[in-house]
């Protein structure tokens, strides 16, 4: 949280700038800012919009700036408190880079003891919380203290703008480094009452690479120390009322999965065919169907829209490349996707059963997707209900023509021989 004070004499501050190093900015998945209103029990957090700052504002050494827009401009000598939350992906470097089955995974975390900021910082502290109490080493920038899993850098006073003091923490992190290298989600909307979702995953263990022997004996017998950083199952959160869930890969069905549903969510626990150690890959496909009435609505201006969830249903994973294809029914016009953050979008045409002109598909791509991106997004389109009859009419016409042909064939006489004997 940043208590921010406007020290300028003349102007009102309408936004607050935050800075990131170039490395951090490349791996930045999401930045959110909130401001607390009210006191104690009545505290509410108002989200503030964050956007990349105008590139014209200069920042030394390639630092990137983001600006948080304040709802009310800050008058001179007024203070306000802003909380910034951001997620970085692929910023932990496993060291040693290769480990054997019985070793624990240690990673480097690089950051700065003082906040990189375009402003003067009067007072600050940095608190690092590691997942386990095993911290091999950490850079000391006085005053520094450590107790168990917490390392405290602080308090520093009166830092100049863009002050930076690099620190490295080397600690144990055995959490599952599940990285989805590529995820392609295809959502097919059918006005006959079903939304079918098919997801193709390329999963990888992104931590320290596994070297040497993999002993199944050690893995099964000594589970606490063997394969500490490996993982063998993943949890996917799906909407309630899903049906026909399947989990397979290129060579067939994978039977090790469990589905638990209740009235507001479904949880699918999947186990890949083998446990994933560092550097191991696997691919699989998850598919399921959902009732249409949970997802298709009519907007105020008469267009229909599908309210879907962005992101990856697997919990605690990072997606490097996410592609969502929303296949709209045949005859949909002017599709438009409204996503609360930056994405690449374009249109395609897919062909499916009984298609004549093809189905408009909205393709949305994003890199570096994390769990915080699992928010609803909408795809608007226009559809005149008469088009629903197109497919049944096609089938009815085809069968009708076939029956008519049968009738004609049965009632025509195509024989060559004369029926009457000539006199």
């Amino acid at each position: 949280p940043h208590p921010v004070q406007n020290t300028a004499t003349g102007a009102d501050a309408s936004h607050v700038l935050i800075a990131f190093t170039p490395a951090e900015a490349d791996h930045l998945a999401i930045v959110k800012a909130t401001r607390a209103e009210g006191k104690r029990k009545k505290k509410t957090y108002i989200p503030l919009p964050v956007s990349p700052a105008d590139p014209a504002t200069a920042a030394p050494n390639g630092a990137r700036l983001y600006s948080i827009s304040l709802p009310t401009p800050l008058k001179p000598t007024d203070t306000t408190t802003v909380e910034v939350f951001y997620v970085l992906t692929h910023s932990l470097e496993p060291f040693p880079a290769e480990i054997t089955q019985s070793e624990s995974q240690l990673v480097y975390y690089r950051d700065s003891a003082v906040l990189l900021s375009p402003y003067h910082v009067q007072e600050q502290g940095t608190y690092v919380k590691t997942p386990s109490s095993r911290v091999e080493s950490f850079t000391r920038v006085d005053p520094t203290s450590r107790s168990g899993p917490d390392v405290k850098y602080g308090a520093y006073g009166n830092q100049l703008p863009y002050a930076y003091s690099p620190i490295i923490l080397h600690y144990e992190n055995n959490h599952a480094f599940a990285v989805v290298e590529e995820l392609v989600r295809k959502v097919e909307i059918s006005h006959w009452g079903n939304v079918q979702v098919t997801e193709h995953y390329k999963l990888k263990h992104g931590g320290a690479k596994h070297k040497g022997v993999f002993s199944r004996l050690e893995y099964q017998a000594r589970q606490s120390i063997s394969g500490a950083s490996s993982f063998k199952n993943l949890l996917a959160r799906l909407p309630p009322r899903v049906h026909s869930v399947y989990y397979r890969d290129e060579i067939g069905n994978i039977s090790s999965s469990h589905l638990r549903s209740d009235s507001y969510k479904s949880e699918l626990e999947i186990e890949p065919r083998y446990p994933l150690f560092g550097g191991w890959h696997c691919t699989f496909t998850i598919g399921y169907g959902m009732p249409l009435q949970d997802f298709l609505f009519e907007s105020a201006d008469g267009r229909r829209f599908a309210n879907l969830t962005f992101g990856c249903p697997l919990l605690n994973t990072v997606v490097d490349n996410l592609t969502i294809k929303v296949v709209l029914p045949e005859g949909s016009k002017s599709p438009q996707a409204v996503v609360p953050f930056e994405t690449e979008q374009h249109l395609e045409t897919s062909y499916s059963y009984l298609d004549v002109v093809g189905r408009t598909t909205v393709v949305i791509k994003k890199k570096n997707v994390v769990g915080e991106h699992n928010v609803p997004f909408q795809v608007y389109y226009e559809f005149s209900p008469i088009f629903m009859l197109a497919e049944p009419l096609m089938l009815v016409t085809a069968v009708l023509l076939f029956f008519a042909a049968c009738i004609v064939y049965l009632h025509t006489d195509l024989s060559i021989a004369k029926s009457q004997a000539s006199s």
Binding site: S215, I251, S255, W280
Partner: protein, 371 residues
């Protein structure tokens, strides 16, 4: 026996169709007699009667087409044949009756028609069950029923999926030829020998390598540019078609091409054994070592569930191979060839390695074409 299946299908189709024929004819006759008997309702009666009879004949036509469609799909099973024999017997009784009376009572024929339709329905259910239970077992996914339900052994696909994703595209996998096509199709890797079995010398080379001690086997595989060796081992779960049971063929085929592999070296009293009574050649060969590597540590005694006894050599290390993957139930074990050491220190190494092999093989090694 399977020749009887199409004959039974056709006979049952004829039987059912003639049964329906008789029944519907009697119903039509009885109904028309019923309506003709009442003169007051004769005006409305005859169109009703004729429509009822046309409905009956059209339904009987539908049943006939349904039966003739269901009949060719019938699977061979003893229960089916017994049922069909009953149907044929009951139908053969009915025509005799028909010749005498030429028509059945109305209630009996209606009830019989409904029962035959119900029989057809149950038959479809039975066929689906028989196909699911008895005819849907792929040989690559094994199942066993336990108290907790169905236990699935998907080890083969687990191993092939691991190979396909976690090895390089050009890596070659050596295994016995039974798994060649499966490895090519599912693991997408080059194999040395596969189910085509057109090159007996090549199969004999792999058989020789599996029957040789570690160092000789390593040299054979290295000359074939093999990176991974795959063996199938059923001893932990009791899967009987594993490589130890197929080992006699590896010895025989290998021995047929390479005379330094002699079958009597592996036999004790005319039998292939892997317990304490096994020959030293058997206990030192690559197949034994790759299958039973660290197997004793699973239960402390090394009891092989397929062979039914404890293995002979329990504690040993691998010098030229390292284990890279074993599946969940230990059914498929994959090993990697260790790279050659940079320096072999003179006579000390040679003395050590030769003391591990048996004396018979050391004598026969002079004829070994691989050295």
């Amino acid at each position: 026996m399977l020749v009887l299946a199409p004959a039974a299908c056709i006979l049952s189709g004829i039987a059912l169709s003639s049964a329906f024929d008789v029944l519907t004819r009697s119903m039509k006759f009885q109904l028309s007699k019923l309506f003709d008997d009442g003169p007051a309702i004769s005006g409305n009666g005859s169109p009703n009667g004729s429509s009822a009879s046309t409905v009956n004949t059209s339904s009987s036509k539908n049943e006939k087409t349904e039966k003739s469609e269901a009949a060719p799909k019938e699977k061979q099973s003893k229960k089916n044949r017994r049922k069909d024999k009953e149907v044929t017997e009951s139908v053969s009784v009915k025509p005799k009756k028909e010749k005498r009376l030429s028509v059945l009572p109305l209630e009996a024929s209606i009830v019989s028609t409904l029962l035959l339709i119900a029989l057809g329905g149950f038959y479809v259910v039975h066929c689906v069950w028989a196909a699911a239970e008895a005819y849907s077992a792929p040989s690559i996914v094994l199942t066993s029923r336990s108290r907790e339900g169905l236990h699935v052994f998907d080890d083969f696909r687990e191993a092939y999926a691991w190979l396909s994703h976690n090895t390089d595209v050009d890596d070659k996998v050596a295994s016995w030829w039974d798994y060649g096509y499966q490895t090519t199709a599912m693991a997408n890797r080059t194999v040395i020998v596969d189910n085509n079995t057109w090159n007996n010398t090549h199969i004999a080379t792999v058989g020789t390598a599996m029957s040789s001690p570690e160092k000789a086997a390593w040299e054979i595989f290295d000359s074939l540019d093999v990176k991974y060796v795959l063996v199938v081992f059923g001893g932990l779960v009791g899967y009987p078609s594993d490589d130890i049971n197929k080992f006699l063929w590896m010895v025989r085929i290998g021995g047929g091409e390479f005379p330094h592999i002699k079958e009597p070296d592996y036999l004790r009293d005319g039998q292939y054994r892997v317990d304490a009574q096994a020959t030293p050649t058997m206990l030192n060969c690559l197949m034994y070592k790759l299958c039973y590597y660290r197997f004793v540590e699973t239960d402390g005694k090394g009891f092989d569930r397929v062979r039914g006894y404890e293995i002979g050599k329990k504690h040993f290390k691998l010098t030229h191979f390292e284990e890279v993957f074993t599946t969940h139930h230990w059914m498929v074990r994959i090993y990697k060839l260790k790279p050659q050491k940079n320096r072999i220190r003179g006579k000390l190494k040679k003395l050590k390695s030769s003391s591990k092999t048996s004396s018979t093989l050391a004598a026969g090694r002079k004829k070994n074409p691989w050295q």
